[in-house]
Amino acid sequence: MTKLFEKHAALKAAYDSLNKLSPRNPFGVVIDRPLSASVGLIEGRETLLFGTNNYLGLSQSTKAQEAAIETVRTMGVGTTGSRIANGTFSLHQKLEQKLAEVFQRRHAMVFSTGYQANLGTISALVNKDDTLFLDADSHASIYDGAKLSGAQIIRFRHNDPADLDRRLTRAKDTPGAKLVIVEGIYSMTGNVAPLNEFVEIKKRHNVALMVDEAHSFGVLGENGRGVAEMQNCEKDIDFIVGTFSKSLGTVGGYCVTDYDEVDLMRLCSRPYMFTASLPPEIMAATLSALDEIRTRPHLRQQLQLNAARLHSGFKELGLPTGESVSPVVAVTLEDVPTAITFWNMLLEAGVYVNLSLPPATPDNRPLLRCSVMAAHSYGQIEQALEAFGDIARKLNVIS
């Protein structure tokens, strides 16, 4: 039996050495309960939440809660089946119609998680005879979807349309379909993709383009449809994939497109076919949150102001952060021990952020990753900046 775990010896050693450096397990933080969108109870202390992806604060929306409660009372708590068996309720169709309407597309397909949306879409679109071109910093769900598809996978340099152009040129004689996949906002660094430039490359090579707007939906663009809307290139993107678990505050994922063949995807996408469908209360809450995104544009404006303040605050402190101003704001540190100490001290000071460690980070450097919310007050952002500044000085990260 023990042989099963022998292959994880290196992982165990890394985990053990991490635990020696850290008084608490950075992968085991428990939020006892949220007290509001921006404050949670952690280790018995009221803690500012700067690491939740809850960009619009809608996980705590009263309207969404009421919609979920009402739906539970009338429809129960689960579907007990997959979408192609007994697991399609009228609410699934209503949610898909609503998403198609929001994105101004002909079709939408809903998945049980955002992870499955990428797995299910990619594996339905390409197979072993095809080639995928992935941004090097793509999310694990994109890499896993690529692996599941069996397609040839070519990585190109992060956010680098010229590098994609070179690689597509090299592959011009390769048979099979070609699909390029990028993200709107990259989850670790907050970098925003130059989608309009990728669109030009896609057109020149006559290939398909899929964009994951998981972190940008509800956040960027005049109507909150993401980076593609902001950069005015939505119609040239073939497939947009996203999640309900960020700005919408629930769980689930989707793919929207104008291709009428989407119904074929429902019959060959294993992550769609072989899992239980979303429970009714989640769909009711998601529909409610979609309405709030439409009717409360000031949430987006407040989010942008808050993101800009945190970003400029880090710059003023001299902490290394990215150039893109987006709701993901990360501080890059040079070594893992400093990052672990920094993260623990932040939590003890009442500020929760994400600790992101190599190899899950770009450039092999650790990150203190913050996600800003519309629900953060000016005072909460200043409090977080003050904690970052104090700790950075104590650890000689800044002088």
Binding site: T131, A136, A146, Q152, I153, I154, R155, R157, R166, R167, R170, A171, P358, P359, N364
Partner: protein
């Protein structure tokens, strides 16, 4: 320079030695992960550098079978020959 496997292995070795963190005593038989302490991401990023030098693209599934510098050189040789 020719594109023989030996030449490619030498080119890869020289590129690796440009990184001061890489041990000085590497050769074609050095294992990229175990001997050079590269994680999977570092391997993928290093291969990107080689791709640009040779103007080729290495599909990710090909990397799964590569253990040593010579393996990588042989893989690049095959791709260039296609």
């Amino acid at each position: 320079m020719t594109d023989s496997v030996a030449d490619l292995a030498e080119m890869i070795t020289q590129k690796l030695l440009a990184n001061p963190k890489v041990p000085r005593d590497i050769n074609g038989n050095s294992r990229i992960v175990e001997d050079l302490a590269f994680d999977s991401l570092a391997v993928m990023n290093f291969v990107m550098e080689i791709e640009d030098t040779l103007d080729v693209s290495v599909p990710l599934d090909k990397l799964a079978d590569i253990r040593t510098i010579n393996d990588l050189a042989a893989c690049l040789h095959d791709i260039k020959a296609q």
